[in-house]
């Protein structure tokens, strides 16, 4: 069944897009990540213009993070105060990101910028996760391993504007969560991902936040940055295709339910190792495409500057 996408100005197979949404939803349910990092490359692969893929993905993520945050909210796993501080930074990051995006689009370097950021972020985070998960697996076999220090002091904790976050039992500089939020917002705007895979480790290792609160709080923050990104992408770059977002959403929601059930059967370290391999594989594929000579070195663009 073919469906015409009014903004992407192309006709796609609805079942294919639903299936892609379902697959990515399944993986995101299984591993507890947003899955945007997989969806944007997949969309580009089936011929959706990269700019539309990124803008639409932001819209789809609003829905995904709303349904994700509900479960955490009911269990009280959201630190609203910290989330709001992150959000302040997130807003600045998103505005800056959309501005950079439209500038890159104007000079014709947006595709390469999207791909390069993917290779960089996925490559780095994926490798780090892989190392961490393999260590954890090894440690499990050698149970005598030492327990690390609970709290480490870094120069980051000496920053000004200290604030107390009762829910997370933290007394840290507001600049830290705001800065993490800003980077997250930038990722939403340029890469079309929620940035959870970056925010979560940053919140655990840099803020020393209680692990139970991390997922809910980052999702809470992501709702607003993705909403902001959708709004700005629609207003400045006109790259949000609601038809495409709807198809992805339906597939994603259904897939996520099955993914969550499947994820329950996996052990934590195994799941992380699998996810890390997936992330690294996507990064390698994208890096390979950058290096290999394209079929046609010429491309055309009709979008007005």
């Amino acid at each position: 069944m073919q469906v015409y996408l009014p903004i992407a100005e192309m006709s796609v197979n609805a079942l294919l897009v639903l299936g892609m949404g379902g697959l990515v939803g399944f993986l995101s349910g299984m591993f507890g990540v947003g899955g945007g990092f997989l969806m944007t490359p997949l969309l580009i692969f089936i011929g959706v213009p990269p700019a539309v893929a990124v803008g639409t993905q932001a819209n789809q993520l609003v829905a995904a993070s709303v349904s994700g945050v509900l479960a955490h909210w009911r269990r009280g796993n959201v630190d609203v105060k910290l989330g709001v501080v992150m959000l302040m930074g997130g807003m600045v990051g998103t505005v800056a990101g959309v501005w950079i995006f439209s500038m890159l689009q104007r000079i014709g370097q947006i595709d390469i910028a999207i791909t390069l950021s993917y290779v960089f972020f996925l490559g780095t985070i994926g490798t780090m996760m892989m190392v961490e998960a393999s260590r954890a697996l090894i440690r499990r076999r050698a149970p005598t391993a030492k327990r690390g220090k609970l709290h480490r002091h870094m120069w980051l904790h000496g920053l000004p504007l200290k604030m107390r976050f009762q829910r997370s039992k933290l007394y840290i500089s507001a600049l830290l969560p705001a800065g993490i939020g800003a980077i997250g917002g930038m990722l939403v705007a340029i890469m079309g991902i929620g940035g959870g895979f970056m925010l979560v480790p940053a919140m655990i290792y840099l803020l020393n936040m209680p692990t139970g609160l991390v997922a809910g709080t980052s999702l809470f923050q992501i709702i607003f940055t993705t909403a902001m990104a959708t709004l700005l992408q629609a207003a400045t770059n006109q790259t949000v295709d609601v038809m495409l977002a709807l198809l992805l959403l339906i597939g994603g929601v259904v897939g996520a339910q099955f993914g969550t059930k499947a994820g329950g059967k996996l052990r934590g370290e195994q799941a992380r190792l699998l996810l890390a391999s997936l992330v690294v594989a996507v990064a390698l594929k994208l890096a390979f495409d950058l290096v290999v000579e394209p079929n046609d070195v010429f491309t055309i663009s009709t979008r007005l500057p």
């Binding site: 006709s11 509900l70 390469i112 959403l249």
Partner: protein, 255 residues
């Protein structure tokens, strides 16, 4: 402007062009030697649009060759060339063409070089080598030619440019017809369908018929909304997504 309003303007413009063409034709000696029409003057892009075919049919007043030239709305296009920089392929040089038809198709009853010479082809912009794209004079001619052929190659790959020699079929000596295919990615706007009657290497009669490609129904409403009220469109997209996410969360909570 509303969609209907826009359609009306387009139609009115098309009608005006038709009148003008008719006036010109009447003023010349070769009026009415060729009459042609389309099976449809409006291509409607709706949600299920996957491309469509339009039949062009017509009659001539005697023997002769027929060339059909379909030209889509002209817009600026930037052609970019990738180069290997530090090991990766990055867009480096670019050239801009100001008057690039979004769609261009030529159909004839036999190969062009068998019945018409270069000057006529150039004058009427028949055939890809004779298409005028309005390049900006900023590059050396050989560079420009490279970008030009790359533009045409990209359009051909997208199925938007083509030449179908021998696709106009004659039924007897006077009746002719051809099918013009428009793929799913066809750009919207006002198209010109030109039918030329060629005898002894000269164009003896020509008729221009307008054709409108327009989004209709739900996809048109989305497109117009996104273009005319981008801020409200963005807000609607966000509100819709929040509602959908909430709904999904509520449904699956029970399961």
């Amino acid at each position: 402007m509303s969609r209907i309003g826009r359609l009306w303007t387009v139609r009115a413009a098309g009608g005006l062009a038709g009148l003008l063409a008719g006036g010109l034709l009447a003023a010349t000696v070769w009026a009415q030697q060729l009459v042609a029409d389309l099976s449809s003057h409006l291509i409607a892009i709706n949600t299920g649009f996957t491309g469509t075919e339009v039949v062009l049919f017509g009659t001539t007043d005697g023997a002769g060759d027929v060339a059909i030239v379909v030209t889509g709305p002209r817009t600026p296009v930037t052609v970019r060339r990738k180069e290997r920089i530090a090991g990766i392929w990055i867009n480096a040089h670019s050239a801009r063409f100001e008057q690039v038809p979004g769609y261009y198709m030529v159909a004839t009853n036999r190969p062009l070089d068998q019945f018409v010479g270069r000057p006529v082809l150039e004058r009427h912009q028949i055939g890809l080598p004779n298409l005028q794209l309005g390049p900006r004079e900023q590059l050396a001619p050989e560079q420009l030619a490279l970008f030009r052929s790359a533009l045409i190659r990209n359009k051909q790959r997208a199925g938007l440019y083509g030449i179908s020699l021998g696709q106009v079929s004659f039924l007897g000596e006077r009746l002719f017809r051809t099918n013009i295919y428009f793929p799913a990615n066809v750009p919207t706007g006002l198209y010109n369908v030109e039918a030329l009657l060629i005898r002894d290497g000269e164009v003896v009669s020509a008729q221009t018929t307008p054709l409108v490609v327009s989004k209709v129904g739900f996809s048109a409403e989305i497109y117009d909304f996104a273009r005319n009220q981008p801020m409200f469109y963005g807000m609607a997209a966000v509100i819709g997504a929040i509602a959908a996410g909430w709904l999904a969360g509520a449904i699956f909570r029970r399961m």
